[in-house]
Symmetry: C2
């Protein structure tokens, strides 16, 4: 049901029944490398284009998520997903492979939580027993689309981020009383487009920070929650600069979060040794998707967190909008997940 201005509460607590998390070679060497189900050792993944490799990531992650959910493919009703490539073709081709009735989504790097919010809504109200949702990105495919082909070896500003090669998918389904140690979706806040006039595609985190702030702040207001309600709040891919900016904006508004309860998927995924490439942090639609459906849910199942809020952030620009002098419209969607035990 609608709560406050732009949030939903899910009283039936749809469960995340299984996840599939697939990554590339660079992610395998990252801090969370062991939390991927599959790590490819080559960016090409035996495909003849990076976009086709992107499709493969999605296909793999969907298959693994269904398998780990303990359900069969034919028990899934819908597939809600997207990616960053023009006309989200990697996801649409993966939808051809899995043959599930398909909702194509585009929320840039916020797609992971756009999908999870909708998936939870559908399951909560009996629109589906099980749906598959998630998001993905591929470093080489995305970099050449939004910036430069990686083969050019161009230098980037320290504000720039590293696009994650990875897909994170989940099966969301009805929860039952028998479940223990099960993550369930309890609420969501859908973001508005916020554009503070920034236009540098090599500083996306800074551009997205006000959108993340707006959604997190609205989430607390809509649900009338105390600021210490969550064991941790995770932003999607703000990186160092954006995450610090978002933290400051929250503090200024009186949202006093301890720093160790406010993390960013883009700052968690890579190892310190990768910093010279990663610069300000990880990004891409696959960033929050792989870190949440992998690492964060693992931490929850090990009882490190009981209640978390994931706020995935998206920069809704295109190369064309940048060339036409537009600023970067940004958005963030937040989903609240609790451990049922």
């Amino acid at each position: 049901m609608l709560v406050g201005k732009q949030s939903w509460r899910f009283d039936n607590r749809p469960a995340i029944l299984g996840t599939g998390v697939v990554g590339g070679p660079f992610e395998g060497k990252g801090r969370l490398g062991s939390e991927f189900d599959v790590v490819y050792d080559k960016l090409w993944m035996n495909e003849d284009s990076f976009e086709k490799a992107s499709r493969l990531l999605v296909e793999d992650a969907v298959k693994i998520a269904i398998k780990k959910s303990g359900k069969q493919q034919d028990e899934m009703q819908f597939f809600l997903a997207g990616d960053l490539i023009n006309q989200i073709t990697p996801t649409s081709f993966a939808a051809r492979t899995n043959s599930l009735p398909y909702f194509g989504l585009f929320g840039a790097c916020s797609t992971s939580m756009e999908g999870l919010a909708l998936a939870a809504f559908l399951v909560n109200y009996g629109g589906a027993k099980h749906v598959v949702t998630g998001a993905s990105s591929h470093n080489s495919a995305v970099e050449r689309q939004f910036r430069y082909p990686t083969e050019y070896g161009g230098q980037k500003a320290p504000t720039a981020q590293w696009t994650v090669t990875g897909a994170g998918m989940a099966v969301v389904g009805e929860s039952s009383m028998q479940m223990t140690n099960q993550p369930v979706v309890v609420g969501a806040t859908i973001g508005k487009v916020i554009d503070m006039g920034m236009s540098d595609p090599l500083n996306m985190g800074g551009a997205m920070a006000p959108a993340a702030f707006d959604t997190i702040f609205t989430h607390f207001q809509d649900f009338a929650l105390p600021y210490d309600h969550y064991d941790c709040i995770f932003t999607g891919d703000l990186g160092e600069i954006g995450h610090a900016t978002c933290y400051e904006l929250l503090m200024q508004k009186g949202v006093n979060l301890p720093q160790n309860k406010f993390k960013d998927c883009g700052l968690l995924i890579y190892a310190d040794s990768q910093k010279k490439d990663v610069l300000s942090g990880g990004s891409g639609a696959g960033c929050s998707a792989t870190v949440f459906y992998g690492h964060i849910l693992n931490e929850m199942k090990q009882n490190r967190y009981k209640k978390v809020l994931i706020c995935a952030t998206g920069a809704l620009l295109s190369p064309l909008s940048f060339q036409q002098g537009e600023t970067i419209p940004c958005i963030a969607h937040a989903v609240a997940v609790e451990l049922l035990n």
Copy 2:
């Protein structure tokens, strides 16, 4: 609730409370010219790029839809929409303007019904009191993205279609017993990706026909409806070739529809005098959106139809996927609308 394999029935019958339909100069001269709320007399619409003109179409249509719904902007909860341009920037920039919490959708030309199905689901289950949904396209922006800049004056095959310049938006909200002569959404069938191996982006209608067939056939099965249930079934933008193909596929499966009860938005929108440009018919995400939210709803309100099924079809290709030798994955979503009186 879920009905059959991939359909929803909306027992609370969400209402289409108001619509906004905006078109370009060529659409104004078409057969349905008088059914647009606003017709621009220039493709540029006083903007300095066709993509910015696309954004303007969406902004206008949203404003008009809200006004005609008799509601205020701040009574709207969500905006679910998309278009064909890379990263759907026209829609995202319009979402910046209207400041509504935003779900970006990509279903190519099926986006209109992807949005209406989700909008109806959200309203039916109290996820929103009012949402705005719709889709758009702009001939010059889309043609240069998917085929060639129109300024080249390139010749096209007779199988090709003409991208509609237009946006169709609707306010979907709770229906009440007091309403009369009100179109309400009663059901939806979400399509799977169907790809019969066609790869010619100048014959999209032919590629999309099997997807339209699959969704319409599944719709009848899921709801166990007799084939004469609807006063008319409208496909989105199959054009002459695709529409004839889809009709044949339906007849072969025993779905005996009289030809005058099976129409195509792409064949309705333009005048016979425009045929030399239009070729096989209109297309684009704005095609089914403007024809349904304009013409078809007008016909319903004049009691020409009481029950209709709109099956919007989408070709989920990109220029890049075509260049990489991929075939065209297609999809279709169908929404059933009835007149409440």
